[in-house]
């Protein structure tokens, strides 16, 4: 058992924290969010220089061949700063999916682009009708000679309008929309005909998109159903762990903001931090935060070792904890601030937005509790 970061992890954590402190103060973040891109390419290239974008990319493709555990401090710092760069979409989701895809020139090129920070790929998997059903894919892949074409609509594609490459899950073999069999993974160039990208922002300002595919030309990255399932599940596992880590960073920020406010805000002639009701709220925030910190470690370890029933359970537990406590901690953060906590000009409310988005990605707390419940019935 070991909870300590390695020297390299600590060094990276410090560099990233410094970088974010310099470029991601809350006012700077507001400007970044309001920009056309919705994120800061300059910050992204500095992150690439630090090696963050290539952390999960295999060494053979110009990355560091690292694990999610290596990335954990970065993900937490990102959530803490409410940063908007495509870390989750490109450096975690796309990198994880591509790593497990069939070897090939296209895949290698994408991976090295991600590592270098010059290329961005978006993970296109979720569909509206699936809601939180993890394998719900109605998008169809059809073969026409040597060519593949995709038809379907993907939603909540993170940084979908900013990516050159779209990694799309689709059904090759027909079957039920949530069947684990018959999936494939495809690469679609974002600017190819038959691709419609409706870029928008999520509640936390994150850039996202709806992607419409109408006979879009696609290059297969994996046609083997079993392997495709493994890619989807592993990518979702990495996403779950990363979302939890991001969330705990945002919770930590809300907690710190609330404590600062309690120490400086005066009402009725004294600091509001002298009031027991608020002090107890702060203590409850800490309890929740510590439980979530622990569960994030478990989720990250589980995602790195994904495959067993126990790793699946661990990730689900983490999503349950972060979803529930993320909200309560940030609710308290807003409540302790009173009116100012309600304004868009102040950071604490953005922490709440962030944890809500992270809860809804990759299955929310309710969905995972229901899955765990089903496992109880079958004895899992």
């Amino acid at each position: 058992m070991n909870f300590e970061l390695s020297e390299e992890q600590v060094a990276l954590q410090e560099s990233v924290t410094r970088l974010l402190a310099r470029h991601y103060g809350f006012e700077q973040r507001r400007r970044i969010a309001a920009s056309d891109e919705g994120w800061a390419p300059a910050v992204w290239s500095q992150l690439a220089e630090l090696g963050v974008t290539g952390l999960l990319v295999p060494a053979a493709n110009g990355g560091f061949g690292g694990s999610l555990c290596d990335m954990l401090p970065v993900l937490q710092a990102f959530g803490g700063a409410l940063a908007l760069e495509p870390l989750l979409s490109s450096a975690v989701l796309a990198a994880t999916a591509l790593k497990l895809a069939d070897p090939g020139a296209q895949r290698d090129e994408l991976l090295s682009g991600i590592a270098a920070g010059t290329g961005r790929a978006a993970w296109c998997h979720d569909e509206a009708d699936g809601r939180h059903a993890p394998l719900w894919v109605e998008t169809r892949a059809t073969r026409d000679g040597a060519d593949w074409k995709l038809d379907g609509i993907k939603c909540t594609v993170l940084h979908g309008a900013q990516a050159q490459a779209l990694l799309v899950t689709a059904r090759i073999a027909g079957g039920a929309p949530d069947a684990p069999e018959g999936l494939g993974l495809f690469l679609v160039e974002a600017d190819s005909p038959g691709v419609g990208i409706d870029g928008h922002r999520l509640m936390d300002d994150s850039p996202a998109a709806e992607v419409r595919l109408e006979g879009a030309a696609a290059l297969p990255l994996c046609l083997d159903g079993e392997q495709a399932l493994r890619i989807v599940e592993s990518t979702l596992a990495a996403g779950m762990a990363a979302a939890c880590a991001d969330s705990v960073g945002a919770m930590d920020s809300a907690y710190r903001l609330a404590l600062d406010y309690m120490r400086t805000r005066k009402q009725f002639g004294r600091f509001i931090g002298e009031n027991q009701a608020l002090r107890h709220r702060a203590a409850e925030m800490l309890v929740s935060l510590e439980m979530c910190r622990s569960m994030v470690v478990a989720a990250t370890v589980a995602a790195d070792d994904f495959g067993s029933e126990s790793s699946r359970a661990e990730l689900q537990r983490a999503k349950i904890m972060l979803g529930r406590h993320g909200r309560t901690v940030c609710h308290s953060g807003v409540q302790i601030h009173g009116g100012i906590g309600m304004t868009e000009e102040y950071a604490v409310g953005h922490c709440l937005r962030r944890v809500v988005v992270m809860d809804q990605l990759f299955g929310d707390a309710d969905a995972h509790a229901a899955r765990r419940a089903a496992a109880f019935v079958t004895g899992g």
Binding site: R279, V287, E290, M291, M295, V377
Partner: protein
Amino acid sequence: MDLSLTPGQQAFRDEVRRFIAQRLPDDIRTRLRLGHPPTKEDTVRWQRILNERGWAAPHWPRAYGGCDMGQMERLILMDELYRAPAPIPQVFNVGMLGPVLMKFGTEQQRTHFLPRLVNLDLWFCQGFSEPGSGSDLASLRTAARREGDHYVVNGQKIWTTTAHLADWVFALVRTDNGARKQNGISFLLIDLRTPGITIRPITSIDGQHHLNEVFFDEVKVPAENLVGEEGRGWDCAKFLLTNERTGIANVGLCRERLDYARELAARTTQGGRSLLQDGKLAAEMAVIDAEIRALEITNWRFLLSPDTAQRTPGFASVLKLKGVELQQEIAQLLQRIAGPAALRRRDHRGEEAAHWAGPPGMRYFYSRAASIYGGTSEVQKDILSKTIVETLP
């Protein structure tokens, strides 16, 4: 980062499991699995079996009957005891008084009491709370005046768990009404057979007798039964209340009870269908299961990791708050699962004690005590908030 046990720890856990499987009497296991608290006889019988193996007070030095066990191994042992389920070593003897005697006691007190504490030849109870001194313990008024080689004790203790089963009590008494209220307190060991002691039962809301009032009327206590210096008993009390780091979270207990709740829900039917099929109930269990895992890892971090957990003074309160919350939620869940079957009052002894719906009905009510004893949850939040609001950056 790594959350797995070392090969050595795994081997130790297997060894503990084997030992429990071979030595834990079936009647005790059955009683505890149903949800009854161990009887005194259960605890004595099992602790003596553990003691043969050096596991009754594993964290104590070998010289006093322990085996110098490290915190992780001890946590593994405790978890396995809870999961069996087996009685855990008597906490007043092993978790509280023993360590106090080792730190503050005389050589004579140690040689006399420690072997008796570990083998449960003597059953100690804790005489701290008084009618006027609950959370504000230092305001206690039970008085001890020195007369020659004796103290003469007058006053009253209350909420004294197991006093009716105990041989001795370790008590906080006031030996000096001087300046600061913490300064005039002394720590005394009192034989409950001494003339002038009256023990009256208090029936708690589960209908059972766990708690007592203990009255002291001109009770003569030999001066050699003073632990530490006269007037410095508060140091002993503080040490006693804060030194226990391993067992506060009670993760194993939570897990065993949740596991039993699942088992009970699976075989309890409503309108011909198993309760476990009720998605809402099972989802509640899934949430509690996640909370237990988070608490378990937090407990490990607290013991092992150099991060916030260890750096934050009062962090033990985090573990107690969450542990208590979960114990209470699970007790409530069990009562809800038993449902109407748990309404009927049943004797906790004799034939009725074997009925499955008795303990879930009773234990739920007593579980409400968990957020009151050992420092109420509100006191824990006071302790925590003092650290986080006033001292940490």
